[in-house]
């Protein structure tokens, strides 16, 4: 029991790292998602294809393979990525591909009448997008974005496998030191992830109902 108590501060620090990684990845994923999503919704078909290919590739590759590639594979090309950077880059690319689909889907779901009316008022294409379409689309993006954040928190546990000291890795290290605390430590970790993610997924569902 006492070594369980000793492990707690390490677990708390690990949870902090999990938060930082998740937040930074989310911010990057949103940036990437908005740029790619808006491009995909507006570019002509031929120009859209390479982007579609890249996004489908990122969505199809398992996150762990992407993370390992960035961490173990890139140094071969002279690009040295630290553990944290590789984990964040992998999460951001993966979640960014998902976010771009959310953005694109929300933009094309806005009825064409809105664009036509704005064009009739003499707005430029860019102004139509910025002043009419995107403000309406953002409402529809909110619930899936919140759900995406829960997915990022959950998926950030993979970073433990490239030795990032997140919540899971902190647990692994402490259990390695004293295998007897495995049950209490892993139970704590499960509950901690649940306490973080459950409110997020409730928030996503509430938003969905309210904005529907």
């Amino acid at each position: 029991m006492s070594s369980y108590l000793v492990a707690l501060p390490a677990l708390a620090r690990g949870l902090g790292t999990t938060f930082v990684i998740a937040l930074v990845s989310m911010a990057l994923a949103l940036t990437f998602g908005f740029v790619a999503g808006i491009l995909r919704a507006t570019l002509p078909r031929a120009l859209d294809l390479p982007l579609l290919g890249a996004i489908e590739f990122l969505r199809g590759i398992p996150l762990l393979v992407l993370m390992y590639f960035l961490f173990f594979g890139l140094p071969q090309f002279g690009i040295h990525t630290g553990n944290n950077e590789a984990a964040i880059a992998a999460l951001a690319l993966y979640a960014g591909a998902l976010a771009s689909e959310i953005v694109r889907g929300a933009i094309v779901s806005i009825p064409a009448g809105q664009t036509e009316a704005a064009a009739a008022l003499g707005l430029s294409r860019f102004a139509i997008l910025r002043l009419v379409v995107i403000p309406q689309a953002v409402r529809r993006m909110l619930p899936p974005f919140v759900a995406l954040f829960a997915l990022i928190v959950e998926s950030s546990s993979l970073a433990a496998l490239i030795d990032v000291t997140d919540l899971l890795q902190a647990a692994r290290q402490n259990v390695e030191r004293d295998p007897n605390i495995a049950l209490s430590v892993y139970t704590t970790v499960l509950i901690a992830y649940f306490l973080v993610n459950y409110p997020i997924s409730i928030a996503s569902r509430r938003l969905e109902k309210r904005l529907a």
């Binding site: 199809g60 398992p62 393979v65 390992y68 173990f72 928190v153 049950l183 993610n197 997924s201």
Partner: protein, 196 residues
């Protein structure tokens, strides 16, 4: 195996979530929320390393790595299936179950012959996505030392230390498989859709 297990968990759980019995509903809801909102990797670690430490029965619960990993994936992906199928069941119009009840079908028979077939059709796109995500999550199995496609690559790297090409190859294999899975689910959807 993971897919079949996750579907079984999903079907039973979804039936429980729409059942008339409050305890069954509560249990199924708790199960879904817990396993959906915790990372599958942590569940696998719990099953593999923490379960054997349970006082009393623990030592009998030492699971081989592949079993722990499969079970973890089944629980997580099954919980998501429960939500998907429940949404599908709720989307079937009330008139369907009322008509079935009027024909004298029992609650179970209503589910079996009338509601579930329609719910599956509604849920198919989401179920397909979940199968794909299960397929990708099999990479997690490697992390506790079970060899799958990905584990094999890890082993080869350890021997010859060439990793970039290997990970790319593994990635491409997964992407191709995911594309094929996605295409077959869309074909299945088209076959099952009623609209001509």
């Amino acid at each position: 195996m993971g897919v079949v297990g996750a579907l079984a968990v999903g079907t039973v759980g979804a039936a429980a979530r729409v059942s008339a019995s409050a305890p069954a509903r509560a249990a199924a809801t708790a199960f879904t929320e817990f396993f959906r909102n915790t990372p599958p990797l942590v569940q696998i670690y719990f099953l593999a390393f923490a379960l054997p430490k349970l006082p009393g029965i623990g030592p009998h619960l030492v699971l081989p790595a592949v079993v722990a990993a499969t079970l973890g994936l089944v629980l997580h992906q099954g919980a998501i299936n429960i939500e998907i199928l429940r949404a599908g069941l709720l989307a079937v119009p009330d008139g369907q179950s009322e008509a079935a009840a009027a024909l004298g079908l029992s609650r179970i028979d209503q589910l079996r012959y009338v509601l579930v077939p329609q719910a599956v059709r509604i849920s198919l796109p989401a179920l397909g996505n979940n199968v794909i995500s299960l397929f990708k999550n099999t990479t997690l199995v490697a992390s506790i030392g079970v060899l799958d496609l990905f584990g094999e690559a890890n082993d080869v790297i350890a021997q010859i230390l060439v990793s970039a090409e290997l990970f790319l190859t593994v990635g491409v294999v997964y992407v191709v498989c995911v594309a094929l899975l996605g295409a077959s689910f869309r074909a299945l959807e088209r076959r099952l859709s009623l609209a001509a």
